[in-house]
Structure formats: C-alpha cells, structure tokens
Symmetry: C2
Subunit: 243 residues, 2 copies
DNA sequence: GCAAAAGTGTTGGAAATACACCCATGT
DNA sequence: ACATGGGTGTATTTCCAACACTTTTGC
C-alpha cells in the first residue's frame, strides 16, 4: 500500500518534469472536501508532497489522467486518498495563474465535495490526512488558501439555493443540528423559530418519530431529508432582481 | 492579416498534434460572448477551423499559452478575434470530457463576456464571425452547445445577483430597453410597472434628462447606470433559504 | 430544582404581485 | 384620429423579522 503510494508520487513528479521540459501545461484536480463536526465546518487536508512546501497543508489533488473525465479524476482522487465514494461532488472553477505551481505550469480544476464525517470514518491516513477547521488560518501550499476560500464562498451560495447541506449531516438529524450547520457554513446567527418554520414550510423533511438520546437536555426529534419531495416540487420561478 | 491568421491556425494544429503524440492534455479557453440587439440575446460565433467540423459554428477559443494566465488568454482571444477590449469577462467553469475534442484531449475553460453590440462594431470578420440568436438551434462544433447552454444558465443566475446586464446596453438606455434585456436573458415576461418600481427603488440609475428620439411613440427617458452607487450600497445580508 | 435546549404563535413591516388609466409622440 | 409605448398608484398577498414563554430531559 505504502509502496504504491510512493510509486504514485514518483509518477507525478516524472510527469511534472516532463511537462516542464516540454513547455506544456499540466492539468490537475483539487478536491475541497468539507465536513461538519463539533458544530464546525471542516476541510480535509494532507501534508504536501512537494519539497518546496514541506510542512504545509495541501488540498487533495492530482494530475488528471489522459483517459479520464475531470469528474472521474475528482472521484478517483477522493477514493484514493480517503477510501470514500458515493459522496456529493461538484466542480467549482479552474485556477490557472502562471505562477501557481512552482514545478511547472499546472492549471487546476477545483471540486467541492461534501461528506458526513461520522458516517465515513477516514480509512487512510497517508500524508497525515486529517480534518481542519475551515476558519482556522492554516499554513497552506500552492494557492490553496485562495482555492479553499473560493470553495467556501461557493458553498455559502450553493447551500442556499440547493439542498446540499444534508450531505454533511447524518441521515437522521435534529433541527438544531441542521441549524448549526447553516450557521457554521454561512457564519451567521439565525433565529431558531424562523429557521424551523422555514424548513417545515418547505416540506422536505420526514419525521422519523425518533428522538435524540444521550443528550443532557430534552431530546429533539430526528428528521430525514426527502429528496423525492424536493424533486417533485415546483422550482421557484424567476424574477426579483436581487443585486 | 489573412496570412497571419492562417499561420495561427497552423500553429494550433501543430500543437494539437504534439499534444496527441505526447499523450498530454491541452488547455484551451472558449469565450462565450453575449450581446443584445433587436431585443434578442445574441452570441458571437465563427465557422470552425477544424476539418471534422466543417460548416459548423464554433465559440471563440484557442489554446492557452504557457506564459499567460487563463483570464489573460480569454482577453487575448477576445481581442484577436473581435478587436475588442474593455469588456466584461468572467470565468464560468471547465469542460474536460475525454471525448470532447476530436484531435486530442483538450480541457477547455469557458468564459462569459458581455458586450454592447452597437458600441463595439465588429472590426474583424475572419471565419465569418457574426452574431447569432442564442435561442436559435445552431449547428455547433465540439461540445459547444453544452458550453453555450451552461453559460446562458450562468448568465441567467448571475444577472439577477449582480448588475452585469448594463454591459449589454448602450451607456444611456430607456427602462423599456432594460426590461427587454432582462426578459430576453431570463426568457420570461415581466410586469412593466413592477419592473420600474424595482429598479428605481434600487437607486442605481441616474436620470440623464435626455429622451429617446426617432421612436414612433412617446419617447422614454434615458438613464445611466451608476456603478459607484452600487458599490457604496450595503450588500444584502444572508438568510432566506431559497431552494 | 436547576440547567439546557426543545418546542411553539403572533404581530408588524417590507416586498412582491396584480391590475387600469391617462399621456406624449409619429404617422 | 389612431397606434404605440411611456408613465404612474393602489390594494392584496406573501414573506421575513422580531420576539417570550412553557416543556422535557439529565444531572
């Protein structure tokens, strides 16, 4: 396992060297994998492979293979690095400044992924793979601070127009957990009653008739997200210029 | 001029051949340039250079040079193909399916650009460069239908959260023109009185005290968009989950 | 009984919608 | 005079924001 990892790294370096000498541009994918735990928005990072970035943290990235689509590359990287599949994943945008990679010209496509930290225990720990608070100013390699920031902003927008957030929660969750999630992502405080009203009125949650347990206070009801209900609903029609 | 164009094409093909033989992935930028004329949303297209796509229409694209940022490449392509600069331009996303380019593996980054058709008369007409209705089902090369579609959807969203639309209008415009623009982009009908109320209440328009002329009806007042007013305004705060 | 969070309704204001008539201009 | 779009106001509804007390559980 470790051997194959090292092998892989070597290949990357070889390819990078080749790209550099050819004067050709490389393409990579970087996965920004968000999780939610302890009422904090987290992101998965590894210790950088590159000598120039020794000790710095890096997003999960790799060069795109010639025979795989960008999305496939993103799923592959996710799988290789974390052992996870069946997670939410969406492209955010490309980052392609000339100077962003020290070894060669590499354009990277950033992908956002949302996973449930508890459900998908980390199976691998290569390169000190671990969760970090998004808010904490990590010492990062490349232009990864910028990429992480762009992905966080993307998430803030996206989570308000599409029900992504549930991917970050356990299948059954209390409304308090859901609200904590939104507060963590959006970095705002929300009114509890209005928040509940809002989500109940959207008619997307199924009551499980189960309750929290082992909590040192009155246990809350647990709900499940019903994606079919979401799909079958009329999408809000346009207008209301919003600037 | 024509000679240099041909020269350029040859270079592209050479590079593509090189990329193919190397098994390396190429990077291009495709510009989706929207305009607004005759109350229709238009897009700039050229006749494709590629033999495989003879007779088909193509977005304005080119390989990214090794020493230029992606944004720079987009501005360059715009300038080379249309002679225009100082236009609105923003990255949308990358398209990187394995099979999207017949000659080689090429990942393309799509950019949206908005220009005022009347103000920037087309200075060049290489490859039959011309405006086409977005709604009209053109016979397009590559995966350009998909890219155009994604960019149109991007525009529909973006124009409602940021005042881009003014880039498509003359400096001085009537409210009717503004409304026609939004109706064309969003493909909806809007109520005239509510539309006016909305934009006046946003306090972004300066009254020029001028009027339309040469119109076969009562002339409308002309307004200018005031970007400073926009910047100085409080941006709407979050919340209001919107699914 | 105390701490901690669950659960619940009402009200006022703002914004969105729907809708109809008179006005200014060119022909 | 008439056709065309410019310009305006009001009533209704919907959505959002603000806000306080009672309930259930663990300790």
């Amino acid at each position: 396992m470790l051997a194959s990892k090292l092998q892989e790294r070597k290949d990357v370096k070889t390819v990078l060297r080749q790209l550099k000498s050819d004067g050709v541009i490389g393409i990579s994918v970087d996965c920004v994998i968000f999780g939610f735990d302890d009422n904090e928005l987290k992101v998965l990072m590894i210790k950088s492979d590159m000598e120039q970035f020794e000790g710095k943290w890096s997003l999960l990235g790799d060069l795109v293979h010639r025979n795989e689509d960008l999305d496939e590359a993103a799923y592959r990287i996710l799988k290789e690095r974390t052992g996870m599949s069946d997670v939410y994943l969406e492209q955010v945008r490309a980052f392609g400044d000339v100077i962003r990679h020290p070894a060669a010209r590499v354009v990277t496509i950033a992908y956002c992924s949302l996973i449930n930290i508890r459900q998908h225990r980390l199976e691998k720990h290569d390169n000190e793979l671990q969760w970090h608070k998004v808010s904490m100013g990590l010492d990062m390699a490349f232009d990864h601070p910028r990429i992480l920031n762009a992905c966080h902003e993307w998430l803030q927008k996206r989570v308000q127009e599409h029900p992504l957030g549930f991917s970050l929660l356990p299948q059954k969750f209390s409304l308090r957990e859901l609200q904590n999630l939104y507060e963590a992502i959006l970095e705002v405080k929300l009114d509890r009653r209005n928040f509940r009203k809002k989500f109940f009125s959207m008619n997307l949650l199924d009551d499980t008739n189960e309750y929290e347990f082992d909590v040192p206070h009155r246990p809350g009801k647990l709900y499940k997200f019903n994606y079919e209900k979401y799909l079958s609903q009329e999408r809000r029609k346009f207008m209301g210029i919003d600037f």
